[in-house]
Structures are given as C-alpha cells and as structure tokens.
C-alpha cells in the first residue's frame, strides 16, 4: 500500500497548487474588501489589509436599498430556477424519448437560440416586452430567461441514457404520459435537476442583461445592477464595489454547497441501475 500513498500525496499537492492559483484572485477581492479605499492603490502592495475595516460593507449595505435588491434577486433566482428546472426537464424528456415529426428542427432551433448574442436584439426584445406589459415587472426577468437551451441540452443528454424499459413497463400498466413523467422520469432525474438548478440559480443571480432591459424602477433592481452602479462615468467606487461583490458571491456558493452532494451522488446511483 506504499505506492498509492505516494500517488495520493502527489495528487493532493497538484490539487492544492491548482486550488491556490484558482482562488488567489478571489482571495484578493475578499481581502481588499476589508481595506480602506486609501489602502487599495498604495505601493508597496499588500495582500493583507493593514487597517482592517468593515466600513465598506456598512456603507454599501446602506447605499440605496440593499435589502430590497437582495430580496428581489433571491425571488427572481428562486422562482426562475424552479420554472427552469421543470420546463427544461420536460423538454429534455420529449427530445430524448419520443420520435415525432419536427423533432430535429425543434432541437436545432433551440440550440440556435443559444447562438444569438442577445445584446444585439435588445431593442426588439424591449418592444416585445412592452407589448406584453411585462416591462418593469420581476416576471419580465423571470419568465423570458427561464427557457435555457443549455438546460434542455443537459437534460436531454442525461435522460437519453435512462433505459426505455422503465417507460415501456409503465405504459403496459396503462399509465398516462404525464403520469410517467411525474412518477418515473422526474424521480430518476434528480441529479440532472440538481445540476440545472445550480446552473440556473447562478445564471439568474449573475444576470445583468435581462434586468437592464426590463427594470426601470429602483425598487425592482437586482444585485448585479446595484453592483454596476458603483462604476461611474468618471470614477469607480472601489471599496463598496468590492464589498458588495463579496456579499453577492455568498448566496451562490451556499446554493452550490447545498446541492452538490445531491447531484454528484445521484448520478452514480442512477448509473448503477442502468
């Protein structure tokens, strides 16, 4: 058992090196957020703040309407994620397990929407939302981005590996299509549901473009918009920007930690059966 230990040691060394280089920039943001602004651009540069301060956090939270931005973003990210997971797994299932005319066309079109740079069609999107009365409503940043081609792609990719025999058996027992989806497919989709949930939460949390198009009222702004406001025409409000950036990362990390066990172990469990 000598050899594997050496192997494992090397493995750890490599991981720790990579992890350090991965986290260094994040660490820099984190530590800098505790520096007074006058310390940020001073030579000699220091990683550790000389005078620790939480002033940046206090003022960035007081600025504007932080609690409101935060709860808006949570609401949008949670509702949109729930919606995304359900409709994407449904679509992934349809594309993975049914044969019907136009299937390839629909799949191709969905992937193609991923290729459109949204910035370019912002004005037509704005007019469309206006026509539908969705401007300045949180639903305008929940519903349109809920259909994610990537989510459908991943769901389809996963579901295609589920054995057909399960569905066939249920159908012989006389189960309805939606019942099969709800009782069998959904149960077996746990890992991919977790994956899409994590991704979707992260996308919506960090989304800047849809809120920019839709929201015209301070009370409905999201965290990312509030973050961008710290970068002015002539000046950048570094301290508060760094502090709020740090605060904004925390919820996404928590969601990842909460779901990760769920989705990695789930994938293994599913595969053994298959």
């Amino acid at each position: 058992m000598n050899k594997p230990t050496l192997h494992a040691k090397l493995h750890y060394v490599l991981l720790i090196l990579l992890a350090f280089s991965t986290l260094f920039p994040v660490l820099w943001v984190l530590l800098s957020s505790f520096k007074p602004q006058s310390e940020l651009f001073r030579i000699p540069l220091t990683l550790i703040p000389e005078n620790w301060t939480i002033e940046n956090y206090v003022s960035s939270i007081q600025q504007g309407n932080f609690a409101r931005y935060f709860s808006n973003t949570v609401f949008v990210a949670v509702v949109s994620t729930l919606l995304t997971v359900v409709i994407n797994v449904m679509a992934g299932y349809a594309l993975a397990k049914y044969i019907f005319p136009g299937r390839n066309l629909i799949f191709t079109l969905m992937i193609a929407t991923l290729m459109i740079p949204l910035q370019v069609i912002m004005i037509p999107i704005f007019l469309q939302l206006k026509r539908l009365g969705m401007l300045n409503s949180l639903w305008g940043i929940i519903i349109p981005p809920a259909a994610t081609p990537t989510g459908i792609f991943l769901a389809r990719q996963y579901l295609v590996t589920l054995p057909d025999s399960l569905i066939e058996a249920a159908r012989i027992d006389g189960a309805k299509e939606f019942y099969i989806f709800r009782k069998i497919i959904w149960q077996m989709s746990q890992p991919i549901v977790a994956t899409i949930a994590i991704f979707s939460f992260m996308w919506r949390w960090n989304d800047f473009l849809w809120p920019l198009i839709v929201i015209t009222d301070n009370k409905k702004q999201t965290i990312q918009q509030a973050l961008a406001n710290f970068v002015g025409q002539l000046q950048i409000n570094w301290s508060e920007l760094l502090a709020m950036t740090t605060i904004a990362i925390i919820p996404v990390i928590l969601v990842f930690l909460a779901f990760q066990r769920f989705f990695f172990s789930g994938i293994t469990a599913g595969s053994v059966k298959g």
Partner: protein, 417 residues
C-alpha cells in the same frame, strides 16, 4: 426535503416583501415622476436630499428614482425613448446629451423668460444644452473642467517651486522639469498619466491648436497640423517613458497610478478632487495650470437634468427641474457632491480645495468656445471610440499620425453626409 423547505421559506419571505411594495396607495391627482440618475459617487442620494424640501412643499408630487450604471446609461435611455416610455426627468452627461438631444423637451414653453434662465448659467454650459433649433433643452447642474493634478510632495523633494514654474510653463519646459522630479523621487516612475479617453486627449489637442471638426462643424477635420503635432507629441512622451504605456495600451486606471505615487501628474478633471481627498494619504497634491503648447486650454463638460418629449408628466417634470436648478438647490447639490456649479451666480464655500477649484475655473475661462460645440456634436460622438482606437494604433506604431487622422476623417465623414 429540508433544503426545499428552506427554499420555500425564503421564497415566501421574498414574495411577501414584494407584495407589500406592490400595494401602493393611490391618492388623488398624484403625479409620480420617474427620474433616472447615474452615480459617480453618491449623487443620487444627494439629489434626493436636495429636493426633499420641494417634495414636502408639493405633496402631490412623488419621485420614483431609478439609478442606472453609467456604462449602460445611454443604451437604456435609447431603449426607453425608442420604446415610447422615456423617464420624466433624467440626469444627463455631455456625452449623453449629444446622443439624445433631439428627444429632449425644450424648456422655453415652461418658463416665463427663457433668456433670463440662460443668463443664470455659465455660457459654455448653456452652449452644450442648446438643440439644433437653438432652444435650451436641459438645465445645467454641475460643471466640470479637465486639468492637471500634481504630486506636490514629489516636486518639493526635487527642490522645485511648483507655483513658480507652473504659472506659465510650456510642454517642453514641463518635460525637463518633470524629468528632474522623477530623478529626485526613487518610487516615482513617470511624469504624467492621461485618462484613456478622447475627451482628455482633446485637452492637449486644443492646446496644440488642433480640433476635430471644421469651423462650421459641417465635416470632420481631424486632419490638421495641430492634431498631427499632438499625436506626434503624444507618441514621443510615451516612447520616451514619460507617460506610462499601461494606461492607453493596457487600460490601467491613471488615478490609481497617481494615488500610488508612481506618476508626477494626472490629466483628469475637477471630479478627481473628491476622490483624491478621500484616498491620497501619503503625499500632498494640488491642481496646477496645465502647460501650454500653442495656447492654454481645458475642455468644459458637465451634467444636466432634462425632460423628454415623450414624457407624460412634462409640466411637473419641468417644475421639479426648475426648482432643483435654482441657486439655493444647485449650490447645496454641488457642495455636497463636491463639484463646480454651472450657475454663473454660484458662490460655494467648499470645506477644502477652494484654490484647486479656482485653478479649474481659470483654465475654463481661457478655453476656446468652439471646444464645447465640438463635444456636443452628435456625429462626432459616434466616432469617438474609433478615434481612441486610432490614437492607440499610432502609439503602437501600427499607423502614422497622418494615416490615423485620414482614417478618422474618412470614417467620421460618413456621419456628416
């Protein structure tokens, strides 16, 4: 399951706060003005504080403030205007002004004596706010000037009397002086950092008697001896190491270099006073007259408030803007945001730096009037990014100054047809 329960709880909390906000009391004949603002520091807070008394005196008026990031500001505004629902009032920079000027509601229909209003403000600021029918479409709020801030301690270390040398210095004198300053300060590496914007570049260009447009502003004329001289000079100071390449080539922030004590001077503007007050603790700094080339010049700029043709609440919007722009409100706003006022009759007692502000004002006084007209030109605003790119191409040695100015004119003139 526990996790799902936690999530649902969060969800419920979030929703309940939302609905609490949604049930708005609908009073009679109430007007809610949507106001759009952007922040360099805390201007939106100061704005709300400044108009607080007006809102108290007019309880039927409510303000719905929206703060939009400056980088997205023009785009958002354009989207709202072209979609038919502009805000009722918006804070507008000179740059934005050149983009949306045709959509702004002229003020003259809402005041008794428009000429009197115009006379209340600095002429250069009024010039910015005139549309093509020669009507005033925005109230100037704060004024800005480009200028030079220097590290006084570094000059002291070199035994140079800053006030004496900077009174009438030229760029070639500056070059010698600043070389001595660098030599006397081991930490200091460069003489000057210039903001990475065509606007700040134009400060030096105007000093070299250069310009962007021809005299009647009907076509591009970047190809002129003054501009070419400026480009040659700019390349020279970059190549000789007096100016750090990392700003124009690597988009490093010059204010950071200045704060770190790496450069002797910074061509920025009056807004930097506020930042440096807060952030510079290691040395003394001050604003000095910029060296001259052919002439002395700054570049005027500023912020405005305006209302839009498509607004549904023009009358109340104009009343609010007029109140915000009167002497007392304007002075309070400029004092709290630490800016120059755009009112001709403003007398603000700044708690500090009043001499620095005076230098900026004196630079503005000698600035040729045509500079404001260039910077409010809508067509010019469309090529400024290209101009910036071409200047960098000159610095990189990829094109000659002569080629660059020709490229800019060729591209720019497609907008002047």
């Amino acid at each position: 399951m526990k996790k799902i329960a936690v999530f649902l709880t969060i969800l419920l909390l979030a929703t309940s706060t939302l609905f609490a906000a949604g049930t708005k009391e609908e009073g009679t004949k109430e007007t809610t003005l949507s106001v759009m603002w952007f922040n360099d520091a805390n201007e939106s807070d100061v704005f709300m504080k400044t108009i607080d008394d007006y809102l108290k005196a007019n309880p039927h008026v409510k303000v719905d403030l929206q703060v939009v990031a400056y980088s997205e500001y023009d785009q958002k505004l354009k989207m709202m205007i072209s979609g038919g629902n502009p805000p009722d009032v918006a804070r507008i920079s000179t740059n934005t002004l050149s983009v949306v000027v045709d959509s702004l509601e002229p003020i003259d229909g809402y005041v008794d004596d428009i000429e009197k209003v115009k006379q209340e403000f600095l002429p250069s600021m009024v010039a910015f706010a005139m549309n093509k029918d020669n009507k005033l479409v925005a109230y100037p709020t704060e004024a800005t000037a480009n200028g030079m801030i220097v590290n006084k301690t570094a000059f002291d270390n070199a035994g140079i009397d800053l006030d004496a040398v900077s009174k009438t210095w030229t760029w070639s004198e500056w070059e010698k002086i600043v070389s001595n300053v660098i030599a006397a300060n081991p930490k200091m590496k460069y003489g000057l950092a210039v903001d990475f914007t065509p606007h700040r570049f134009s400060t030096i260009m105007y000093q070299f008697n250069g310009h962007f447009l021809n005299a009647d502003q009907s076509a591009m004329e970047f190809n002129n001896p003054g501009t070419i001289n400026t480009l040659n000079w700019f390349k020279h100071v970059h190549d000789s190491g007096l100016v750090p390449k990392s700003v124009w080539l690597g988009s490093e922030n010059p204010a950071e270099l200045f704060q770190a004590g790496l450069v002797a001077g910074h061509i920025g503007g009056s807004w930097n006073i506020n930042t440096y007050n807060k952030n510079v603790k290691d040395f003394e700094w001050k604003v000095v007259n910029m060296p001259k080339a052919a002439i002395n010049s700054s570049v005027p700029g500023g912020k405005f408030v305006a209302s839009f043709k498509g607004s549904a609440n023009k009358v109340e919007a104009q009343k609010l803007m007029a109140a915000f722009s009167d002497n007392a409100h304007n002075e309070a706003y400029c004092l709290d945001t630490f800016n120059l006022s755009s009112r001709a009759d403003a007398t603000i007692d700044y708690p500090s730096n009043s001499k620095d502000f005076d230098v900026f004002l004196s630079e503005l006084k000698v600035t040729p009037a045509f500079t404001a007209n260039e910077w409010k030109n809508t067509n010019l605003s469309k090529v400024t990014t290209y101009i910036k790119e071409q200047i960098v191409e000159v610095l990189l040695g990829n094109v000659t100054p002569e080629q660059a100015v020709a490229n800019v004119d060729a591209k720019g003139n497609t907008y002047f047809k």
